[in-house]
Amino acid sequence: MLAGAAPLVAAIPLAGVAVGPSLARGARETSIPSGAAHSHAAMVGQAVPAPGGPHDLDDLLYPPPARPARAGQVHEYEISAIDRQIEVAQGVFFDAWTYNGTVPGPIIRATEGEVLRVAFHNGGEHPHTIHFHGIHPANMDGVFEIVNPGDSFTYEFAALPAGMHVYHCHSTPLKKHIHKGLYGVFIVDPPKPRPPAQELVMVMNGFDTDGDGENNFYTVNGRAFFHSRYPIRVSRKQTVRIYLANFTEFDLINSFHLHGDLFRYYPTGTTDRFEHTDTVMQCQGERGIVEIDFSHTGLFMFHAHQTEFAELGWMGFFDVHDGAPGS
């Protein structure tokens, strides 16, 4: 069958819990002196209060590689909604609603024109859906076909248009279903591949752990200060491409700011037009592609330029080296 030709992305429930062997280019534990107690130096390296081990978020940070265009071929995913407690900051646990056990959910990636078939099973206690951004028929929009607990639904449509998109639950109350963690990124590659790059995915989000309608923690990919504790190693010799999206609930906007360099920002990744800047802001559901050509090596911070968000967990570091990409 068509499915046989397509790589089946593992949809083992709790995939996020049992993290497989690390990728070769995974984030490394960086030995950085903890420094003075109340400078930013305290917020990098082992002194940082971030949960988990250095490779826990690899599946969410590093997207699967783009595939050659194969118009009309089917690409299958399996996604389950799972109610699960996740550690969003060191020692702080949040009762999340997840796609496949993680917040954000798995990275869905297709090449323009491929047929996506997403088998969705609702293993949670509440009705859910998957609503994809992009171009698709009304009955594949994940708005009317509510999937009750224990039920399943298969979304099938052609991946269009090339760019960077998102998906999320569209059950009501929408605010609750999104804030609880039901969202992820959906990358549609152009038929003519983008230039090679060191690719990363960053979903900006927040967690209101005490239910007062304000976020207590802000993160990229779900864990506060994670990339402060484990800086992301990238090479200066190849472009760094970040698929950046914002799913922060309660706050109107979120932002991404890079230290020590500027980057090209392609809103929604749908055209060649870009802005050359070091700070972009996104409203909820907004996304775009960031391309950085680092001029220097060393530790460069990235964080929300809402300083409150940064100090509540949304900050990290690039460890830029001079070696080959992936080394």
């Binding site: 305290a42 020692g91 702080v92 752990t209 207590n216 923690f217």
Partner: protein, 403 residues
């Protein structure tokens, strides 16, 4: 049946009676055991228990050099663990001076290295593992005095100024009181009763305020009532013993003995007052300026007058007794200031204020009995009623200076 035979029969039965007295206790143990064994099934009939609130009780925030110390306590039955700390809505590294997992009513201190800015408002938050954040807002960060020779002396001086000095000054009215008309002296005695009544109500209010910040599990109001009852009845017993020694059983105290009772009542109030001043100052809630100190001195000089009034009735007071009266009434303010300045113990504060209420009330009773028997016209004389009301009014008006 003779009295002896009744007693003998009772004695013969008594071991069995004592055993029977245990029956309700044993039945209770059985009933509790059965209820516990059924788990939550009884509660399930009417619904489900809500999840624990997981809020902490922030007892005290101290500002040291480049360091903030937050004393927290777990007020709920379920244990909580401390996961994260924030200062002004930013996550900060911290260490714990104490356990990280807190059982019921257990406490710990969160130590945060932080370059806080003197005089700025600051919020400090502590988050439990379930993500619930408890926040304390401090109007202005000021350095908290640690335990040192300097601060021990400082609190002692504060207590000395607001307690010992005004009482001693008030006692200086003693010679002039000796010369006044007995009806006027009765008026001054009633004034003492009036100001002690004011102090009792004041202490009760303070005690309620401390009881309100205690977790329910401590039963703050109960502590206040027990403290009141113990001190009232304890002093009643002391007064009774003193009266018996001096002569007629049940006779009201008078003269120096009554003055000592008044001094004890005032002293116990000053213990609580010193504690309240010390703790408010230590946590930066009270600006202990010269205006406030002067206010306390003016209000407390009336306490000295209150002791002098009964003393003026009796024989000449020897210097030793005079010093003892002053110290009993004034020195507890020093002890209170030390306790309040260096410890945070609302339980102790509630008990102290309860004791102060009972003591003041008992002394009012003593003074009232004395006036009833000795004063011309008894309690209905214009001097007594006027004196009592004047006592209340003086305390109210001088109290405005320290409000």
């Amino acid at each position: 049946m003779s009295t002896d035979s009744v007693r003998a029969e009772a004695a013969a039965r008594s071991p069995l009676w004592r055993l029977l007295a245990l029956v309700p206790i044993l039945l209770l143990i059985g009933a509790v055991g059965i209820f516990s064994a059924t788990g939550s099934s009884v509660v399930d009939l009417v619904g489900v228990n809500p999840p624990p609130a997981d809020e902490l009780d922030i007892r005290r925030v101290e500002f040291r050099t480049d360091e903030i110390r937050v004393a927290v306590r777990n007020p709920q039955p379920e244990s909580v663990s401390i996961a994260s700390a924030t200062v002004d809505e930013g996550i900060v590294p911290f260490t714990l001076d104490g356990p990280g997992d807190l059982g019921r009513l257990r406490g710990t201190t969160v130590v945060i290295p932080y370059p806080w800015i003197e005089g700025d408002p600051i919020t400090v938050g502590v988050t439990t593992s379930s993500g619930v954040e408890t926040v304390a807002e401090i109007a202005a960060a000021v350095p908290t005095p640690g335990v040192s020779g300097r601060s021990i002396l400082g609190y002692a001086l504060i207590g000395f100024l607001v307690g010992v000095v005004p009482v001693a000054l008030g006692m200086a009215w003693l010679p002039s009181l000796r010369g006044v008309d007995p009806r006027w002296l009765a008026g001054f005695m009633a004034l003492t009763a009036g100001l002690l009544t004011f102090l009792a109500v004041d202490a009760f209010g303070e005690g309620l305020a401390f009881a309100a910040v205690l977790p329910d599990a401590f039963g703050g109001l109960g502590l206040l009532v027990i403290g009141t009852a113990v001190s009232y009845l304890g002093l009643t017993w002391v007064a009774g013993r003193t009266a018996r020694k001096t002569g007629v059983r049940g006779a009201p105290l008078s003269g120096l003995a009554l003055a000592f009772m008044v001094a004890i009542g005032i002293g116990l109030h000053n213990l609580g007052e010193g504690l309240a001043i010390g703790s408010s100052f230590a946590v930066g809630e009270l600006a202990l300026g010269s205006f406030l100190i002067v206010g306390f001195m003016i209000q407390n000089i009336t306490e000295g007058l209150g002791i002098a009034a009964p003393a003026a009735e009796g024989q000449r007071v020897r210097p030793g007794s005079m010093a003892a009266l002053i110290l009993i009434a004034g020195a507890p303010a020093i002890v209170g200031a030390w306790i309040g300045g260096f410890l945070t113990n609302e339980v102790l504060a509630v008990v102290f204020f309860g004791v102060a209420v009972g003591a003041a009330a008992q002394v009012v009773t003593e003074v009232g009995r004395h006036l009833m028997r000795r004063a011309a016209g008894g309690l209905t004389s214009g001097f007594v009623i006027g004196g009592f009301l004047s006592g209340l009014a003086i305390m109210y008006l001088t109290g405005l200076l320290i409000g």
